[in-house]
Symmetry: D2
Subunit: 350 residues, 4 copies
């Protein structure tokens, strides 16, 4: 490793790729040495994302053109399914490489769960077994020593952060969790599809993937582990007309005489001193706009009108803490940097 | 009553007032004879809402200037609290008057519930006892004979329509209903408040009134009655960046071995032939944009991944079926018109 | 012709097709007898546009499946270029057919201009010579007797309506017209393209087709004719984050000592009594939201701070008066109906 | 001056105040020592702008509570009109203070122009005469030595940057400049006004201040000076439904045989090496979303279809380069810091 960590971004022409460039180009200890985008190979990054017009960046290339030996760490922002093959080959070429993978390919520790949710067997089971699930605050120590970090899904991070501490402390019923997770459009990526056109999305809202969204499998994995027994969350994502942000409204049933205030206290304890997780005062409602553009999560706990339920709300920017920001945070852990390096951006509001 | 029904709109300078004008000015059997707006009295309606520039409409006046004797039916689109006094005086002047009230003042049959949720005793209890709760499809017969119709809240109509038939048939657990009801901004009215500015609302989402939104009391009233026992819904409204539309995502627990398909069948049966309620095919997800500008409700039922829960989704335009459209529908019932008169507008999409 | 006019809509799966259905399904003298959409043939219209779920509509078919003999009038909402062939064949099958064409194929009377702007010779020159340019208010008499009406472009209608009367009266300099015409996204159609994705369009604005947008050729044709000599308009369209609406800001230089007030008076005279064109009081600024969903145009004239220039503003809904609404208006003229039939919808605001 | 520059922000509860906090809290050489907001005095900044929840910031106070002696530089983000008095008093207390004023009070060098446009005589003429107009790229040297910098208006900066070099080189006609400048809502500030509500602004566009917007006076001042003779620009601002961004579409007439390409070359020369001004390749159209959140300006030059005109487009973020970012840039000049310090944020897209 030279003074600067040399990183490559595979899949730089998508939104998470661009967001990695935004964050890493201001990171004090990183040099971006390769950017790939198969269909745009040969173009300048500023052709694809003109906000980078004033930066000096490597040209977009194919993956094959990347000199892996010159790279210390790879961010993989490729489509689900193709990623496992690509990463296996990268490690073959250079076993000492570090990888932060933003796809879903290595998130599920259980191969059967993977096959159930993704419809085909996993093609890199050995790598899967060494991958660390990258919710930075929950698995900090494991991430530090990892070669392969599986960055979690955007909806997953949003709900895992507030719910896991409550399940660990047995404050809520693991069988009765109802999550409605509203997301902006950038989470759907940049592929041209009719249902993602402005005119189809603006001035409206609708659910999608009801009863079967794949991020549910990540919730199951983490909620089961935290509760110490099988959990059951009902997870319904909504698409709303904004670019960035996820907003999870979680209805929970209190267990063992717990109060909403106790939930709040547990979250305060769990995230005390965390630079990116803010637990708002009890009863204060988070707003997605206050985390836009930043790596922050804002959590709120509110009492329901009756005694046995509470509403927990979690919000983050799906492209930052929900994807590229957490990926940089995980890179910082892997590389031994300050965890906040390159992540100082504050929320952009208005 | 002359050939045309003479109607007055009290509170015509707000959004629900304007929406009444939009619908009634194309109604074949209605004449708008008075429009009031205390702070804008003396102005033309087209000064306040220039989309009406080509219409001939009465000038805006104060309420005192209205010739009640010349009016057959009054729409009350005034703020909560002041309405009960105004309506009591109107009936004193002309006992044969019909009133469709869009405020919350006469929605709760139980005076104690009113006092609990609104913080003061009801000032027109006698009128309260004769008011009919105006969910048109559920109380059609009572509305036909009513002198005073209490038009329900926008969130209330959205959730009552899908849930009441399910509770009546005992298909779902009355104790475990979780509602997240996303609404556009027009429901918040036209009063100038910082938190309603474009820059505060655009590109973001947040919950409001968590655990204490007053529409909850209407849900309680109707859910209890339908279930035949005390119900418990947790109701969380979200504000999202669009003008019109409410989208309720309702997580329900199935009871007595019911299936999601059975819920769907029950809604199909309940709303068979209804002109304004469309039950989508099983598993099809409603979108708010498909009801924008129309008096339609679209309902959908989806299975959750496990056997004992389902997701029920309901969407309508908060200013039409959620307010002024249902008010016109109720007027049609009260006046003996065709229920669909003046309500033929189709959804405006895109 | 039977009691009802039997109409077919070719290209019903696009936004202008859907808008035709919205308007015609409430038209008192029209029956929709055929809807075509090549790629969606076999589907119900409500599959493609669920806002029509409660309507009885013919299934989508291919164009070949349409029984032309049973059709009185055809709306052509097909892509530019393919249309001239389709219409030529329709007239061959049934010479008495009436056609309102929403494409650009028959808008330019001069074949050389067509070739210059569209890059290939016109393939139906004979039909071109009989086509009438369908700005309803300017060519009412010609449209009444036409077999083929060429519905103008959305930007074109927006700027032609205010500028032509001023040029005819020689009140403004034909050589110094600067038009900046901001449009919502629905004008770009429903084809899935990256640059039309919500995330690409929301929270931003940009010009497109600068110096070469094809609607310029329609402005040239009409401005030259009105001025009686070659005109020169600079036309720059902007794409802004809304669904519907065009808003043309036109800077004009006054000629022959004319005043801004004189411009205003000329527009008032030109459009006196027109049901769909409202000239606002002098100095009052139009807003696109006041015409959303209606067939209305709102025009405004404002003085600049100096003596020799004025600002003229024109706004309409690109899908209604800018496309399908004016098409219905033209159908009404062709068929001898009331010009306002089926076009009573008021602006939807908010 | 200590190691860190101690700055106070007067008017920190508005959007430009918050934007100053966003930028300065990450500035390597600045300490924020005072934040004032008369109506919110006593509150934490995070109460007013929760995106700052994780920062340590001084409490909001009144202006009187600020210890001016401990302050090196003041940012004035107060309403127009009241500012001149406040700044005069600050200088009385501490003559060595530096002030960057974001209001309009000191922008116009000519007292008569001020009185004409603002409707009352200037109350601090002496200070006016020493104020430097703060377009950083044009007045860099004067700003370095200034005690009082008058930060220009957001529309002004947007149009001055591309037009002044063209006038200086006599490439365009100073008498025939037509500017349509579309702006997002955050430029209108945070005061609660009906016309700024989300429902009034979303899904629409309208002009405002037509023929009389006060930023015109800044254009006049700078255009006259650059041309060396009286200029005449027609300036029409549009309000469009987005939070941030200004997009000026400028139609110019070429003079002395200049070509559009020559205009482009002149802008490239003028801004060669400037860190915040990017001149796009000839013919490439800027988009406002590519500068969102950054201090960048993107300029484009396009040929019109005829030989004697061109379209010049300029876009920036009204809260950054249009206000607080340029204020920080000016502070950097005044304080002798690197001009880019604290301004490294890249555009946030999507």
């Amino acid at each position: 490793m030279t003074d600067l960590l040399n990183v490559a971004i595979l899949g730089a022409s998508g939104y998470t790729g661009a967001e990695l460039v935004r964050l890493l180009s201001r990171h004090p200890r990183v040099a971006i040495t390769a950017l790939t985008a198969d269909r745009k190979a040969g173009h300048a990054m500023a052709d694809v994302f003109p906000q980078f017009a004033a930066l000096e960046l490597p040209k977009l290339t194919t993956i094959d053109e990347v000199d892996v030996d010159a790279v210390d760490l790879v961010f993989c922002a490729l489509p689900h399914g193709t990623t496992q093959q690509v990463i296996a080959e990268l490690f073959e070429t250079k076993p000492s490489l570090k990888v932060v993978d933003l796809s879903a390919d290595f998130r599920l520790a259980d191969p059967d769960a993977y096959e159930t949710w993704y419809g085909h067997p996993h093609h890199a089971l050995e790598l899967q077994s060494e991958a660390v699930f990258g919710v930075s605050e929950l698995y900090r120590d494991e991430i530090k020593g990892a070669r392969l970090v599986a960055n979690p899904g955007c909806h997953s991070t949003t709900s895992i952060l507030p719910i896991v501490p409550l399940l660990r402390e047995q404050l809520i019923d693991a069988d009765a969790i109802s999550i409605v997770s509203a997301t902006g459009m950038s989470g759907a990526g940049r592929a041209a599809k009719e249902e993602m056109l402005f005119s189809e999305v603006s001035e409206g809202v609708h659910a999608y993937g009801v009863g079967k969204h794949r991020h549910t499998s990540e919730l199951d994995q983490e909620f089961d582990k935290a509760a110490g027994r099988p959990s059951r969350a009902t997870f319904t994502p909504l698409l709303i007309p904004m670019n960035r942000g996820i907003y999870a409204t979680i209805t929970v049933t209190l267990s063992g005489g717990a109060t909403a205030e106790a939930l709040h206290a547990a979250l305060q304890t769990a995230y005390w001193g965390e630079p990116f997780v803010t637990v708002l005062p009890f009863g204060k409602v988070p707003q997605s706009r206050h985390v836009r553009g930043s790596n922050s999560v804002q959590l709120g706990v509110m009492a329901d009108r009756g005694p046995d339920r509470a509403i927990v709300i979690s919000t983050l920017d799906n492209l930052v803490k929900g994807a590229s920001g957490q990926a940089v945070q995980n890179m910082n852990l892997v590389a031994g940097f300050e965890e906040t390096d390159g992540l100082a951006q504050l929320g952009l509001f208005p």
